[in-house]
């Protein structure tokens, strides 16, 4: 009996382990068809507003050109499916996802360059695709080979969000400098609300604060350079310490942070903000659409670019959602045609009015709640890549080194000096094992 039990246990163990290992070696597949058809795998789920607009555009495109689009709305993990399918011959022609995701896919050799789309005319208009998108919005969209990895149709910007009415109620004006921001915090706390809301269980959201401060103190792309330093010594820059000290002032200020923010689970923190329990939310352009169903009545969404610091550098942190074409695409020409078709004013306007997002074309106005964000982008002296691109370029470093150290500082568990020391030592150790 014991022997049988042992065999049973060993069998169970082998089955589970083999299953774990098998996950490593398997792959999926989906199909594409003839030259009159393109296959499109989307980052949107069925029923999402962007999906509905794209679905409508597909209908019109097929009617006008005769090219069928077989759409599969896969959701945010779409590129994981595309990556796996790329091991087979059955890949989609057209995909869409965030710029960071598509850039990674292009650098992995999954996508082909889409420079040709930028040269195409937008149907019904006298301009090319390149002429309707500002160069600042596309300068970070090139892969390692210098080719465009995607054509953006939606723009996302990290902004400091607040309720305009609440700002007036506490007798404050939107901050232009970080010191002004701390002043407004004092006023918010005096009025019985916290200054900052945040969902602390999302390390990337926590990192928005320090990365924005660093981009003010040290300028764009500095974090990327520091992250790539195998000795870790770049983090010893006195200005980086100054940025960490500024963050400490905010998080250690009495009542500044929403109580329990360190363990707040998305979307609790941002919903608390929309119920006027905190004055600010540092968030991407989805802040308004994500919280509108929970917001206090009369909540007046407004935002500013993250404030400046003395002798600092202003910039706007941005990313996009756009279309890419796979390297193994059977019908790249038709896919290019669809992208150019979707970039017309008509569909960009639909995105703005129906999906409530900022279209990548600045000549199409954003919806009212995002008008301030579109202006921030237009007025930006420099547009920087989302989180300096570090989460995509050095993903393990970002999650295991930077985010871990940043959480400690942002939760007020360490001093800025110790934070810098930790970042230097962890970076050195990380690069020693990942050379």
């Amino acid at each position: 009996m014991r022997k049988r039990m042992r065999i049973l246990a060993a069998g169970a163990a082998a089955a589970v382990l083999a299953g774990t290992l098998a996950a490593c070696g398997s792959s999926g597949s989906m199909g594409t068809e003839d030259s009159k058809t393109i296959t499109y795998w989307s980052t949107w789920n069925k029923g999402e507003p962007q999906q509905q607009v794209i679905q409508q555009a597909i209908g019109s495109f097929t009617k006008e050109t005769g090219i069928k689009v077989r759409a599969q709305f896969s959701g945010r993990q779409v590129m994981k499916q595309v990556d796996t399918a790329n091991n087979t011959s059955k890949v989609p022609d057209l995909v869409d996802d965030s710029s960071e995701s598509l850039l990674s896919a292009a650098n992995s050799g999954v996508l082909q360059g889409v420079d040709a789309v930028y040269g195409r005319s937008v149907p019904g208009e006298s301009k090319t695709v390149a002429q309707v998108i500002p160069p600042a919005s596309v300068k970070f969209l090139k892969d390692d080979k210098g080719q465009y990895a995607l054509v953006p149709y939606q723009t996302l910007v990290t902004s400091l969000w607040f309720n305009d009415k609440m700002m007036q109620k506490i007798g404050a004006t939107p901050p232009k400098t970080f010191d002004e921001l701390l002043d407004t915090c004092g006023k918010a706390v005096a009025h019985g609300m916290a200054c900052v809301a945040d969902d602390g269980t999302i390390p990337d959201y926590n990192a928005y604060w320090l990365t924005q401060l660093v981009s003010r103190y040290l300028g764009p792309e500095w974090i990327r350079k520091a992250a790539a330093d195998k000795t870790g010594q770049t983090w010893r820059d006195p200005k980086f310490l100054a940025a960490a000290q500024a963050l400490e002032k905010l998080v250690k200020g009495k009542g500044n942070m929403l109580s329990g923010y360190q363990g707040s689970k998305l979307p609790a923190g941002q919903q608390a903000w929309s119920q006027n329990k905190a004055l600010y939310l540092l968030m991407g352009s989805w802040a308004a659409s994500d919280t509108k169903n929970y917001a206090a009545s009369g909540f007046d969404y407004d935002s500013v670019t993250f404030p400046s610091v003395p002798n600092g550098q202003m910039s706007v942190d941005s990313q996009s959602v756009g279309f890419g074409i796979t390297k193994k695409a059977k019908n790249p020409a038709a896919a290019q045609k669809f992208i150019a078709y979707f970039m017309s004013k008509r569909w960009m306007s639909e995105l703005s009015s129906k999906a409530g997002v900022i279209p990548s074309r600045p000549d199409v106005p954003a919806p009212a709640t995002l008008a301030s964000v579109q202006k921030q982008l237009a007025d930006a002296p420099v547009v920087t890549r989302y989180l300096d691109g570090v989460p995509s370029i050095y993903p393990n470093y970002w999650t295991n080194v930077f985010d871990v150290a940043d959480d400690q500082l942002f939760f007020g568990e360490t001093s800025p000096e110790k934070f810098v020391d930790k970042l230097v030592s962890s970076s050195k150790s990380y690069w020693a094992s990942h050379s």
Partner: protein, 318 residues
Amino acid sequence: MTISGIRRAPAVVGGETPSPPRHQKAGSRRTVLLFLLPAFVVYTAVYIAPAVASVALSLFRYSGTGDDPKYIGLRNYRQALRDEAFRSSFVNTFKVLFFVGIAVFVMSFVLTMTMREMRARGFVRAVLFFPFLVSPVIIAIVWGFMLDPTRGLVNTTLNEVGLGSFTQVWLGPKLIFPMMMTGMGWMFTGFFVTILMAGVERIPPYYYESADLAGATRWQKFRLITLPLSWDVVGIMAVLWVINAMKTFEFIYAFTGVGTPPSATNWTAALYVYYTGFANTGQPALGSACAMTVIMLLIIAVLVVLIQRLMRRERIEF
């Protein structure tokens, strides 16, 4: 019969049965092989072959996105073993293995001993088993929402009943992993109680009756009757637990929300493998993930063998 009357069975049994004639033996072996063949083919194609492929891939630099694998020998292994984050994710896995394991086993024994004498034990067992029927992803999400410090059920209730001083930042960096472990313990206890109950129910009641007459305490009954007579089942439970603990994944993956992974300080080895092989951002590294999986396989194999050695006892027949 008294407690001392429990017989120790010989280590080898069955030697006395007469062997069937040779021609019958060969025929029955052919039938057995015939029945085994479909399972063997499917199992080899679906499990064994990909597993072998994974071991091979662990020697290559390969992203798994259609690129050509490049042979790099044992470099993926060297990198994984020197990787601080991989090691810390293993520490988390071992925390689950030992702390949750001890809690689950103690709770299972306590509950089994209590339920053994209960009238409605079938119902209670069903209630305890229920969490195991629900997807761990759902349970993790619900636990996460209950423990949210800003508006979760736990802190809200504590505030409502005047115990506001007991509120905690349950999902903050200090408590989030202990909370994940508590949730896992809650989820698994019912499953192990059910297995243990099945073993304990085989024990003839007259042993306990006799023990009662002899004036044995609960602890004595547990130590001298329940534990020795359910030892085989405990051994199976231990192996199942090691496997479950080593592959702890979905509970932690979903605890802070699907698609929004918690801080890397809370990752287990399985989660680390997933994010290496199917990157959330950046380029995936499937070859490296396969090397990590092989390391996990070896550790599980060693643990299972160790447990089987540790649990080896002379079998008691009753």
